[in-house]
């Protein structure tokens, strides 16, 4: 198991560097010239040759003429920065947001909390519903309840999440007035940050988005759990277990379930990533102060240091997700954990 974990870790670190480099390179396709931007105000006062000299000097100081790899390494914090210190992503310097005029780290902290909060909330809620539902349908395969759920679940995974959002908004907000339409907190509220009221208000605001996210993932996940479980229930070792005289409950919940879990775990990763991707849509639709909304704003205002930092956040989330999946896979499946 130790070796397996180590292997996955090394792999993930490599992938991180590859993706971050690709992203960095991608951003460098954008034609911007910070040196020119900085000199522009002084241009009138300077003689042309002086301007060109200063411009070149500045480009050098800013390291703009260095090779892409060097700039990347500096940005990442693998080699010393221009001020002679390691000062990059790895040291916690995420850059400076032009849109918000403050360091990206400061800008990002609150939305990051919100995004992680709603995603984890939605994941837990969805798992809590889909796992039992899928197993129940598999065990009662072909019965009325099962066919109904199957038909309904097609709705769930066929509709795009923004349409589901609109439908839910129509009923829960416009029709019944249960939840607020948008935002992360009541405007002009007068409670202490961090107080109980603040928390309640937050939950009140994110309830509908979380419900929508949960609902949207029900369909696909239920089907997946169901088919994994049906597959497991049809195997030879389940027949062996029955032939041993085990009670049906033990057969289903111990023998079949442990095996059905394997494909489910793999799909949870794809699904978790889907939820994170979906939260970009949800946050924008519901105007939630989260990473997805910030990302959207950053892309629209071409605030690339901000966007790059958020993109790294998404990458890290997906890598950590995949590591967690690998680990839990290892725990559940002895064929991965124990060598021959």
């Amino acid at each position: 198991m130790g070796k397996y974990v180590l292997k996955r870790l090394v792999y993930i670190v490599i992938v991180f560097f590859v993706i971050s480099f690709l992203m960095y390179a991608l951003y460098n396709l954008i034609p911007t010239d910070p040196a020119r931007a900085q000199l522009e105000p002084m241009r009138q006062q300077l003689k042309p040759e002086e301007y060109i000299r200063m411009y070149k000097q500045l480009r050098k100081e800013m390291g703009l003429d260095d090779h892409l790899v060097i700039r990347y390494a500096r940005w990442m914090g693998i080699i010393k920065g221009l001020k002679g210190k390691f000062d990059g992503l790895l040291q916690g310097n995420f850059g400076y947001s032009q849109t918000f005029k403050k360091p990206v780290v400061q800008q990002i902290s609150e939305p990051m909390k919100n995004t992680i909060f709603i995603n984890i909330f939605a994941t837990i809620a969805a798992l809590g519903i889909t796992l039992p539902l899928g197993v129940y349908c598999a065990v009662h395969k072909g019965k009325k309840f099962d066919t109904t759920v199957q038909t309904m679940s097609i709705l769930g995974y066929s509709l795009p999440i923004f349409i589901i959002s609109l439908i839910f908004m129509y009923f829960f907000v416009v029709r019944w007035g249960i939840f607020p339409l948008m935002g992360s907190k009541t405007p002009n509220a007068t409670y202490e940050p961090g107080s109980w009221e603040a928390f309640v208000d937050k939950v009140y605001h994110i309830a509908l988005p979380v419900i929508v996210m949960t609902f949207a993932s029900l369909g696909g996940m239920t089907r997946y759990v169901r088919s994994s479980m049906i597959e497991a229930l049809g195997t030879d070792y389940i027949r062996t277990a029955r032939a041993k005289g085990l009670r049906e409950k033990v057969v289903i919940y111990s023998h079949a379930w442990r095996n059905a879990l394997l494909p489910i775990i793999t799909s949870i990763l794809a699904w978790f990533l889907g939820i994170f991707g979906g939260s970009v849509i949800i946050e924008n639709t519901f105007s939630l102060n989260g990473m997805g909304k910030l990302y959207w704003t950053g892309l629209n205002t071409l605030d690339f240091e901000l966007v790059l930092a958020i993109q790294m956040f998404y990458t890290v989330v997906s890598l950590i997700g995949s590591l967690l999946i690998d680990l839990s896979y290892g725990i559940v499946d002895p064929r991965v954990r124990v060598n021959k």
Binding site: T240, A243, G245, L246, V338
Partner: protein, 330 residues
């Protein structure tokens, strides 16, 4: 009185295209301490008839009619709860595929100890000790190591030994072995068969040995039931069939003709009989074997023969059971 008596068993399956009559009026008996061999081509209903005994049919299958008496007790009318007590305790099963018949995510210990825990109420620790004994009984080397291993760490032969250990854990009175050696290499196959013979001598268990390989039956069985299209076409002591029989079913005759010896590879199937088993939904009228039978007459195509006792202990489902007469006519 026989230990297990199956009488006029009809087991059907509901499918989209109609009712599949997989087992059609089958009767056979298993005597205490003896081995009944059931032979027949793939699809002839051997597995289904055996699984009917333990009510381990797929969800679309059901026992239409018939009686299954185990030690004088009617099994077909048992409740689910009562059936749990029989399975793995009085009657247990070994399946064909050792590769897939063990649960990949549990250790050998866990899987073999389950019968002890459910049927004998042993604690985990007590069961673990008994598991070691059982593994030793089936001649597994290093049982202390193997018991902590997972199925994927074992070879096919070892897995089948584990299966046998698991099946014999509660000293069942009957062991149903559904093609236990078919998937194994020839040498391993021989070892497993020997092991089963030895264990039967040690423990006095009755065995119902299912196979499509007459050669194996010859080696194992006391009595033989030959199945074709969900029916028993011939029922006789092994001595009779493998000796110089006076009476025989043409199907058995064909099977015997193609008998592989132990040294021929196991994947050489019984191909001496021309044609293929008919589709279970398109069974012929009259004798089911008629389309492939070289002795078939007009009568065979319209009228279905009964299983008749041609001599004490031997029954044949054919209008022309006498070998000599038949050969002369044909």
């Amino acid at each position: 009185m026989s230990l297990l008596e199956v009488r006029d068993l009809n087991t059907f399956f509901r499918t989209k295209h109609g009712i599949v009559k997989a087992v059609n009026g089958v009767s056979y008996t298993v005597e205490a301490g003896k081995t009944l061999g059931i032979v027949g081509e793939s699809g002839s209903g051997k597995t289904v008839s055996a699984m009917s005994i333990l009510q381990l049919l797929d969800t679309n299958g059901f026992i239409e009619s018939g009686s299954i008496k185990f030690d004088g007790r009617e099994l077909t009318t048992l409740t689910r709860r009562e059936m749990y007590e029989i399975r793995g305790n009085d009657i247990s099963v070994i399946f064909q595929e050792p590769m897939t018949s063990l649960n990949p995510v549990f250790t050998v210990e866990r899987q073999v100890s389950e019968p002890f825990m459910v049927h004998q109420g042993l604690s985990k620790r007590e069961a673990a000790l008994r598991v070691l004994d059982m593994l030793r009984d089936v001649r597994i080397p290093n049982p202390e190591v193997v018991t902590k291993q997972y199925p994927h760490q074992l070879s096919g032969g070892m897995r089948q030994r584990v299966m046998i250990a698991m099946a014999l854990a509660c000293r069942p009175r009957i062991l149903i072995a559904d093609e236990p050696s078919t998937a194994l290499d020839v040498t391993i196959q021989a070892q497993i068969l020997k092991l089963m013979n030895d264990l039967q001598e040690e423990k006095g268990t009755s065995i119902m040995f299912i196979t499509h390989d007459l050669g194996v039956v010859c080696q194992m069985a006391d009595d033989v039931a030959v199945m074709y299209c969900g029916q028993v076409v011939e029922m006789a002591p092994a001595r009779t069939i493998f000796g110089k029989p006076q009476f025989s079913h043409p199907y058995t005759e064909g099977l015997l003709f193609s008998i592989p010896r132990l040294d021929t590879p196991s994947d050489v199937r019984l191909e001496a009989i021309p044609g293929a088993v008919p589709h279970p939904l398109k069974l012929p009228d009259g004798c089911k074997f008629a389309p492939r039978c070289k002795y078939a007459t007009e009568r065979c195509k319209v009228e279905e023969p009964e299983l008749v006792e041609v001599q004490p202990g031997q029954g044949v489902r054919c209008f022309y059971p006498d070998l000599k007469e038949r050969r002369k006519d044909g």
